[in-house]
Symmetry: C2
Subunit: 404 residues, 2 copies
C-alpha cells in the first residue's frame, strides 16, 4: 500500500495539529519526547539480548542439575532452547522492521532518537512492553485473534451499524460524514473496522511509541495477508502443555490493511482507499491533553478497554461529553482493572461500574443501553489471549451506550 | 472441639519429628525461625494500619478533585469508605485471633516471636500474603468456596475413593491403614476431606507461618458452622460491579472441622474424632527437606496446585517416588505457573506438562491415568476465585495418577 495514502499519526482538531505525545511547550519538552522515543526504540532493539540473558539462566539451571537428572533432560531441553533462540531471532527481525519503518515515515522524534541511539540494557518494565507488543499483534491483526476481537469489538461494531444505518443510495457518504473517535486505539484494528464500515475515524492512543510504531508498521508497511510471522509466546515458559505451544508461529496481518473490499478488486477500490486516506488518522497522546480543546468535534466516541486507564474517570467522562456534538453517542466496553490502583505517585479514584453509570448521567448523558453483570456472565472477553495456556484471564465487561 | 484431639502441626516420620519450617541445625537456625514467625505475625497484625494507609490515599484522591467533581462523589464515597474501614476492623480482629490461637497452641517459635514483637511497618510482599490468607479461607473453608473446591479437589477425591474402596464390614479400618501425604496442603481442606473418607493423612505446607497459623486456627479454634465472618474482597477496588460486591461478607467454616458425621450425632462420633486425632497431622516445612529421609513411608501422595512451586520439578518427582511404598499412588492436579520463573536468585526449570509426564515415567512410575489439554478444556479450575469480579483467572489443569 502506498504509504502516502493513509494519513497516519496526524489529525486536525479545530485546525490544530494534535500529532504529539504531550503538549510541546518548549525545547526541553521536545528533548523529553526524543528521550521517550529512544527508550522505546532501545527496548525493542534490546529484545534479543534480553531474551538470551533469560535463556542463559535456564541453561544454567539445567547445568546445575545432578548428573542423573541432567541425563533425563539435556537432549530435549537443548533442542528446545535452540528452537527458542531461533524464534527470538525472528521476533527481533520484526521488531527492527517496526523501528525502521517508524524512522522512515514518522520522522521527527523517532529519527532524532534513532540517530542518538546506542543499544543499552533496558528495564524489566520496558521489556515487558516489548514482549507485549507481539501479543497485541495477535489480538488486533491475526486470524488467531479473531475470537478475541469478536468478544471485545462485536458489540460496539453492531451498535454503531444500528445507530448509523447504511443507506446504499448515497455511496456511504452518510457514514463518511460521521466523525468517530476511538480512544485507547492500541494497534488500530477497531478504528480500522469502523473506517471499513464507512465512518471517518481518528484513533487516539497513549501507550507511547510502542503502539505508535507498531500500528504505523501495520498500516503503512503491511501489503498482503499473512506476510509476517512472529512467535509471541516463545518466552512464556509457564503453563505450557508442550514445547510446541510455546513455539507457536502466528502470521499477520489477517487482512491487507489497504483492502476495504475484502479482496473484491473492482474499479471503486482506488476510490475507497482514497476515502480511507482522508477519513482515517491515528493520533498519539494523552487523551485528556490531546483533546482538551476539541469542543463538539465528534459524532461518536468509542472506548474499549479504556476507561480504567484513568486515574480519575470523571475527567474522561466530562471530556468525552465536551468533545461530542449534541446528540452524539458514546459507546463504552471494558472491565475496570484500574491501571493506577497500586501506583505510588498517582492519586487514583477506583469506582465500581454502577457508580460510573451514575456519573455518566450526572455529567449530562442519557443512558440508551446498559449491559451489566448479569448480561455479561456467559460471554467473557479476553486481552492478548493464548488459548493454549493453562492460565487464562477472563474479563466480564460492562457496556453502555450513552447519548449527549 | 477439644484442641488436644487433633494432633496438628507435628508428625512422626521414621520416628523423627518433622514439626519444623526448616531443619533446625543450631541456635542461629532457631533464631532465624523466630524471626520468620515474627515477620508473619507482624504482617497479620499490621493489616489494619496498612489498609488505613491505602484508604487515606483514596480519600486524598477525592479531596484533590475539582469542587464540581467532588460534589458528584463525596457522599457515596464517604459512606463507602466508612463501611470499608468497618470491614477492615473486623478482618483485623480475626487475624488477631489467628495469631493468639497460634501462640496458645503452637508455642515455641510463635511464642518467642510474640514476646519479642513490636508492631512495625511490613513490606508489600508480606501484606499481599496477609490479604491472601482471607481469600484462602474462602477457598478452603466457606460455602462460597464450594464450587472452587469441587473444581480442584473432586477428581482426586473420586480417584482416591476408587483406588481404595470402602469395605463397610471392617469399620473403615482398611482406609485408616492407608497413609496419605498431601503436599502443598494450604489451609488443610483437602487433607481434611481425605481424613473424613477414612484415610490417615499428613498435610505438608511450606507457605510458612501464614498458612500454619491459619490452618491451626481452623482445626483447633473453630467449633461450629459459620462461626466467623470476614470481608476478603474489601481492599479490591478494581473490577467491581458495585460497592456491595467489595463489601461481601463471607462466613466460615462451612463445616465444623470436628464433625465427621455430617451432623449425624450418633454414638460412634467420639470414636471417629479419636480416629481423626490419631490419623491427621499438619507438618510445616519445605517438602524436599522435611521428607528427605522418609523412605517408603506413604501409600499415597496427593498434590494439588503444588508441582509448580518447585524450582526443579525432577527433585519433587524423585522424592515422591522415594517416599511412596511399592505399589503406592501419586495423584497430581494443577497448572504449571512456575513460582520461581521470574526469580532473580533461584535457578528455575520450567517444563511443559508432557515433559513432566515423561519424567514421571523415567523416574520409575507407571502412568495409570492422564487428563491433558483436551480433557480439561471445558472445566477450568479456580484459585481464590471471586465470582463477582470483572476479572477472573481460569486454570486449565493437567492431571495424572501414577503408580510406583
Amino acid at each position: 500500500m502506498d504509504k502516502d495514502l493513509i494519513n497516519t499519526f496526524s489529525a486536525e482538531v479545530n485546525g490544530e495539529s494534535i500529532n504529539k505525545l504531550r503538549p510541546i511547550e518548549n525545547e526541553s519538552s521536545e528533548q523529553a519526547e526524543v528521550e521517550a522515543a529512544e527508550k522505546v526504540i532501545n527496548a525493542m532493539r534490546y529484545y534479543r539480548q534480553y531474551c538470551l540473558m533469560k535463556l542463559k539462566r535456564r541453561s544454567d539451571a539445567i547445568r546445575s542439575l545432578l548428573e542423573e537428572d541432567k541425563a533425563l533432560l539435556v537432549a530435549s531441553c537443548t533442542e528446545h532452547m535452540k528452537r527458542v533462540r531461533e524464534c527470538v531471532e525472528q521476533n527481533q527481525k520484526l521488531l527492527e522492521m517496526i523501528v525502521h519503518c517508524g524512522a522512515n515515515i514518522l520522522g521527527g522524534s523517532v529519527q532524532s532518537a534513532l540517530e542518538a541511539h546506542q543499544l543499552h540494557p533496558s528495564t524489566e518494565h520496558y521489556m515487558t512492553k516489548s514482549k507485549s507488543i507481539l501479543k497485541q499483534l495477535v489480538r488486533d491483526w491475526s486470524a488467531n485473534g479473531a475470537h478475541e476481537r469478536e468478544s471485545c469489538y462485536r458489540l460496539v461494531l453492531n451498535d454503531m451499524a444500528t445507530l448509523y444505518p447504511y443507506r446504499s443510495n448515497d455511496n456511504q457518504q452518510n457514514r463518511h460524514d460521521i466523525q468517530v473517535l476511538v480512544t485507547g486505539a492500541g494497534l488500530a484494528r477497531l478504528a480500522w473496522e469502523l473506517r471499513k464500515m464507512g465512518f471517518s475515524v481518528t484513533g487516539n492512543e497513549l501507550f507511547s511509541y510502542f503502539m505508535l510504531l507498531t500500528s504505523n508498521f501495520i498500516l503503512n508497511a503491511c501489503h498482503e495477508k499473512e506476510e509476517f510471522t512472529i512467535y509471541p509466546y516463545v518466552m512464556d515458559f509457564s503453563n505450557s502443555w508442550c514445547y510446541e505451544d510455546q513455539l507457536k508461529p502466528i502470521k499477520f496481518p489477517d487482512v491487507n490493511p489497504a483492502d476495504f473490499n475484502d479482496g473484491d478488486k473492482n474499479s471503486s477500490e482506488r476510490e475507497n482507499i482514497n476515502n480511507m486516506a482522508t477519513g482515517f488518522a491515528m493520533c498519539a497522546g494523552d487523551f485528556l491533553q490531546a483533546y482538551s480543546d476539541a469542543e463538539e468535534h465528534f459524532d461518536s466516541v468509542v472506548s474499549v478497554f479504556f476507561l480504567d486507564t484513568a486515574a480519575n474517570p470523571i475527567a474522561y467522562i466530562r471530556l468525552i461529553y465536551k468533545i461530542l456534538r449534541k446528540g452524539g453517542f458514546w459507546l463504552n466496553f471494558g472491565p475496570l482493572t484500574y491501571h493506577h490502583e497500586d501506583s505510588d505517585d498517582t492519586l487514583s479514584l477506583e469506582l465500581p461500574f454502577n457508580s460510573i453509570l451514575r456519573l455518566v448521567e450526572q455529567c449530562g448523558f442519557k443512558l440508551e443501553k446498559v449491559l451489566d453483570k448479569e448480561s455479561q456472565k456467559e460471554s467473557p472477553s479476553r486481552y492478548t489471549w493464548n488459548k493454549d495456556s493453562m492460565l487464562q484471564y477472563n474479563y466480564y465487561c460492562g457496556y453502555f451506550v450513552a447519548q449527549k
